[in-house]
Amino acid sequence: MAPKLPPHHSLQHSSTTATAGGQVHDDHDHHPQPRGIMRWLLTTNHKEIGSLYLIFSLIMFFIGGIFALVVRAELFQPGLNLINPEFFNQMTTMHGLIMVFAAVMPAFTGLANWMIPLQIGAPDMALPRLNNFSFWLLPVAFTLLLSTLLMPGGGPNFGWTFYAPLSTTYAPPSTTFFILSLHIAGVSSILGAINIVATILNMRAPGMRMMDMPLFVWTWLITAFLLIAVMPVLAGVITMMLMDINFGTSFFDAAGGGDPVLFQHLFWFFGHPEVYIMILPAFGIVSAIIPTFARKRLFGYASMVYATASIAVLSFLVWAHHMFVVGLPLAATLFFMYTTMLIAVPTGVKVFNWITTLFRGSITFEVPMLFALAFVVLFTIGGFSGLMLAIAPADFQYHDTYFVVAHFHYVLVPGAVFSIMAAVYYWLPKWTGHYPSEILGKWHFWLSVIGVNLTFFPMHFSGLAGMPRRIPDYALQFADFNLVSSLGAFLFGFSQLIFVWVIIKCVRGGVKAPAKAWDGAEDLEWSVPSPAPLHTFETPPDFKPVQH
């Protein structure tokens, strides 16, 4: 995905409604570029850093995926078959941690790096060196995290939510390393988010008002705000864990006057906004792709912006819906139940707008569009199961069963992950100058859709029937559902090899893409050549707002 060095021709103006200018410069008017590995270690270029993030995330996606397949292999049949329960717990935990912090979040940050400057007509991110720092913290953090698996006593085994006292009093010794690695990842996220906010607020092309920004930019602005607000809370809560473990404080220990439930409050005050951090950029991507392939303008642009903002505000007021069974006062239970249900309103607005955009459009079904449409349908299924979980008395039954696992995998896999794949297919022509293979892409899409549904749909049933989550063995009556889930998981996992193949093929060659690679694409990024030269918009483009 490495961008080519700037070709020696200047920008072609495309006939989009948003006309944009920008010049392509020769390399010589720039600071001398380091070569080889140093180029990647030192780069301050948003496109190179974006590529680094995306490649890193893809690697982590496979590592986290292997952990998941280990889990599914063990669950293929009842009984303890392949691995011992201790290792099973490490696998579920590491799978969750890696997917959340090392795959999904960096993928979105990579897309932000690549696309936000292109979509707002900026030459680069606002703070390019900080950008490089944010990226290079990640390999350090996650090498450290993965290395805990090799430490005496094994790696983290308390689930990705690392509830105390499992993660303090009863935790393996490596937990301290886990905490420190999460601190590094947190620093990376906060600095990355600060950079994105500064870029969006400060680097827009002259004439581009906030309400002219593409929705991907808007959703990322709000996501970055959430990150700056809650990553420090995560840092706080893991610091308290560190102290409880190593210095005998009693934050989460009732013997000294603390409270394990305090851990859950702090964690979910971070954790719920965190799940929106993983979905808001996806909303932005889908809001870019659907209008392009429906060849219509996005329906309800302003309401999309307001819906995103209200989701962000509400996400600070719902955290205890993860804690209904922990024993909350009744008033708190009711409050968090109603606020959680309120979130369905702005979410519904979004789904409504996407569908209305499709209505009477001239739709074509290229791979990015397929992924985006699957997103709308399958994410909505996850939203509905979320609503079921939001009903506190019902959640007493559902909580900690596979129903919850089904819910969050529907919003995260065919939700967040599909949106990332849609984005990759959508923007690959801009990154590489070639179209990704439609045929392989369609294989990848259909196998993924089938795999995802085979994996996660049966979990609704095993959950409702009472199968608890995070166990290596289960009662016989769940065997059929689990067999299907495991087969689906392997299908999904191996289909992702096609994705890698598509990307490698696309980087190396393929049908040449013009500046405006898709018929109905209107945003500013389609006004620069494909592949986008290393430096774009060094002089501000001449931006003409589109009427929304």
Partner: protein, 286 residues
């Protein structure tokens, strides 16, 4: 940059070295805590982090003085600093949140109050007080006495408030290009910050030796030391930043209108000051 109106900084080796050094420091810290033998690695990492920061900021200062930065870069720095301080606010919010939760909910519940009072079955003799002198379980020994807010903490409050005022005067001096005034008031601010840290040290000494307030003395000691400790760390960082500003003033940096480095350190210092007011009220007084 022919005709370009944007400034894009050159590549730099500090970011990647910085992340490497941070990694070394964290590995060392982990080794020290888990295996008891990582202090040297950790110190090397810390030295690395500090060196990188110093050299990175030096580069930025040099570039700024060469006039490479434009108004847009200046705005980016301002917004970056502003959001950074917001993230720090949220970090402290987590600790204040923990303090309030413990005081308002957790302890009364342990004492049998309300629907969640079943927790009282664990330690039926426990009675909730704040500051918590006798933690629920006898195996945790609480503090013998608590800090009197009207002695050293009050002095420290006055010192920090005064330092915010002196810093503002210094800033006004700089704006009016009265560099001597700026220098003198900045020195006064630094001295106050320095004294604050010393007094805080004395207070910690008293807390540990005379009052039995330690990290291990139940939740009161934990919240007390973590909140004041992180604040104290921020004061030390703030003093360091202000010291750098003093050096820069002495070297003739900053103009009446362009002195964002100075302004940013003022923001930071005021932020640290406001956190202290919160601490004084909710950790010491109430």
């Amino acid at each position: 940059m022919s005709g370009g109106s944007y400034y894009v900084p050159a590549t730099s080796k500090w970011p990647v070295l910085g992340s490497l050094a941070l990694g070394v420091m964290m590995i060392g810290a982990g080794m020290a805590l888990v295996h008891g033998n990582g202090t040297i690695v950790m110190s090397l990492g810390l030295i690395g982090v500090l060196t990188v920061m110093a050299l990175w900021f030096r580069d930025v200062v040099m570039e700024s003085r060469q006039g490479l930065y434009d108004a847009q870069m200046d705005r980016s720095f301002r917004q970056g600093m502003g959001w950074f301080i917001f993230s720090e606010v949220m970090f402290f919010a987590a600790f204040f949140g923990a303090l309030f939760y413990i005081r308002v909910f957790a302890l009364p519940w342990l004492d049998g109050e309300g629907a969640k009072g079943v927790a009282a079955l664990l330690w039926p003799d426990f009675s909730a007080t704040w500051p918590l002198m006798s933690p629920p379980d006898p195996s945790v020994s609480g503090p013998r006495e608590v800090m009197n807010p009207w002695q050293l903490p009050l002095v420290n409050t006055l010192i920090l408030v005064a330092s915010s005022i002196t810093l503002t005067i210094a800033h006004e001096g700089l704006k009016e290009s009265n560099r001597t005034a700026c220098r003198n008031w900045l020195i006064a601010t630094l001295a106050l910050g320095f004294v604050f840290v010393i007094i805080q040290g004395v207070e910690y000494y008293q807390a540990v030796t005379h009052y039995g307030i330690t990290l291990q003395a139940g939740i009161y000691g934990a919240t007390f030391f973590m909140l004041t400790g992180f604040h104290g760390l921020h004061v030390i960082i703030g003093v360091t930043i202000l010291a750098v500003m003093l050096v820069r003033i002495l070297r003739g940096h900053f103009g009446g209108h362009d002195h964002f480095g100075f302004e940013a350190s003022c923001w930071y210092w005021h932020f640290v000051d406001v956190v202290w007011i919160g601490l004084f009220l909710f950790v010491y007084v109430f």
